[in-house]
């Protein structure tokens, strides 16, 4: 009997989850766009599959960091190593991302999900599809055009599509911005199950309450620099950096 609190991700034969992709090692990471330095000298080690929340004020470079880690952008400086290897196609196939504004195909909900199942080409993906449709309450929406869904429904669909890829690493860029509490709850419950199933989750959020609910460790960015990486408890109770303290106190950081 499968544990309902865990997403039963299919794995390739002989492939461990997700130790093969960790630790994530970032050294001297920098990114410059149009002459503006977005990220500068980021050093970070993430060795285990704890749920990591990336926080920081607007313009700190959080979304850019996620895109660099996922290979959607190329670094201007520094290195990113997954399990000691540069990001290659094989590693990227074990990653998935949920964007702040979900991009869904001009198809029905079911067809959007089926796209990921076909891409995965694993028999277990069909089983995962039915679990995710249940978990994220998508069954009643299955035949609806994806683009006519509400914001919360679209984001639930985007999360289900990402998880159908059975990722070792899941990136989420403010997935719950402007969503109603019910959708937020469903998404958070599913993230817990993915985490329990062995997926390393990296979540960008501005929502302090959500961060407190989900985070096991927190990475804090300010003006493109990493000012703190600590366990969630110590980050929220005794933040080490003055920037993090000011941010948690609700003071605007310029």
């Amino acid at each position: 009997m499968p544990d309902p609190r865990v997403l039963p991700f299919p794995t390739s034969p002989g492939e461990a989850r997700p130790a093969a992709r960790l630790p994530l090692t970032i050294r001297g990471l920098g990114f410059v766009a149009d002459g503006t330095r977005i990220l500068d000298g980021i050093d970070l080690d993430l060795a285990d599959n704890r749920l990591t929340v990336i926080m920081g004020p607007n313009g700190a470079g959080k979304s850019v960091l996620l895109k660099l880690l996922h290979g959607l952008l190329a670094p201007s400086a520094g290195r990113i190593l997954w399990g000691g290897r540069e990001l290659d196609r094989q590693t990227r196939q074990r990653q998935a991302m949920v964007f702040q504004k979900p991009v869904l195909f001009r198809r029905s909900v079911r067809a959007n999900l089926q796209f990921a199942v076909n891409l995965k080409k694993s028999p277990e993906a069909t089983e995962l599809l039915s679990i995710l449709m249940d978990d994220l309450h998508l069954n009643d929406l299955a035949d609806r055009p994806a683009r006519l869904l509400s914001g919360g429904e679209q984001q639930r669909l985007a999360l289900a599509r990402a998880l159908l890829l059975a990722p070792d690493i899941l990136f989420l860029d403010e997935p719950c911005a402007n969503l109603d509490p019910a959708s937020v709850l469903l998404i958070e419950e599913t993230l817990h199950k993915a985490r329990a199933g062995g997926t390393k989750v990296l979540l960008v959020t501005h929502d302090l309450h959500q961060a407190r609910r989900l985070a096991e460790d927190v990475v804090f960015l300010h003006r493109g620099r990493l000012t703190e990486h600590s366990d969630a408890d110590s980050y929220f109770d005794t933040p080490a950096s003055p920037e993090a303290r000011a941010y948690l106190a609700g003071q605007i950081l310029l």
């Binding site: 290979g71 990653q95 991009v103 055009p145």
Partner: protein
């Protein structure tokens, strides 16, 4: 003015009793045009999709080339196809000159650049939206191309319509390679040109009306399909 009115009444009479000669010409026109548009789509849609997705040196040149070829003068195409298919030409052995086959080839040559250029334009816009998702999901380029073609299918109907419009109304190329032979290669446009020069304005006008009605019907059908797709957020 009276001639004009007479021509109209004669034209409607020909249409009303569906004159067999008229029917034959209309049927051949549609056969040639549909075949040419089908061939142009089979070639043009994948090339347009590839140009929208792939990044390779010289891609911009191809885009400019196909955009330029959209304005190919039909008589020049007719001449080139004529030279290819004439007995002395490299494809003379096929003995296609003055057959509907030659007209299909000429129209395909005219329509393919239109399909390529407009498909590239439509799919580039959609790809700009999907690109990060494709990259994130590590979708191979050929699968991405099929996805774009499918998801843009309603917008591409308009592209096909543009090609259809060009082909059905074309006269310069088909008259050169088809020869406007009665019962063999006479289509609506070449017949209109001939009947007008002979002074048989009624038949010319009847054919002109049929041409307009076909264009109207096809446009209306495509608009209806697109409108229903838009309501479903698929377009």
């Amino acid at each position: 003015m009276q001639d004009f009115a007479n021509s109209f009444s004669l034209a409607f009479e020909l249409l009303w009793r569906f004159d067999p000669a008229l029917g034959e010409i209309v049927f051949l026109s549609l056969r040639v045009t549909f075949a040419a548009v089908l061939i142009a789509c089979a070639i043009g849609l994948p090339i347009g999709a590839a140009l929208a997705i792939l990044r390779f040196p010289g891609r911009g040149l191809f885009v400019v080339l196909f955009n330029t070829l959209m304005g190919l003068p039909p008589v020049v195409v007719g001449l080139l196809v004529y030279m290819l298919l004439s007995n002395a030409g490299p494809l003379g052995v096929l003995r296609l000159l003055y057959t509907p086959g030659a007209m299909i080839i000429a129209q395909s040559v005219l329509v393919t650049p239109i399909i390529v250029a407009l498909t590239h334009q439509v799919l580039s816009d959609l790809n700009a939206e999907y690109a990060d998702t494709f990259r994130s999901m590590v979708v191979p380029w050929h699968k991405a191309a099929v996805t774009l073609l499918w998801d843009a299918r309603y917008a591409l109907l308009t592209v096909v319509l543009a090609g259809f419009g060009r082909a059905i109304a074309e006269v310069g190329a088909v008259i050169i390679v088809g020869g406007n032979i009665n019962h063999v290669t006479r289509v609506m446009t070449t017949a209109i040109a001939l009947e007008t020069s002979k002074g048989d304005l009624a038949l010319a006008l009847a054919l002109g009306l049929v041409l307009l009605m076909i264009a109207l019907a096809v446009n209306a059908a495509v608009m209806a399909v697109r409108a229903s797709a838009r309501r479903m957020a698929y377009a």
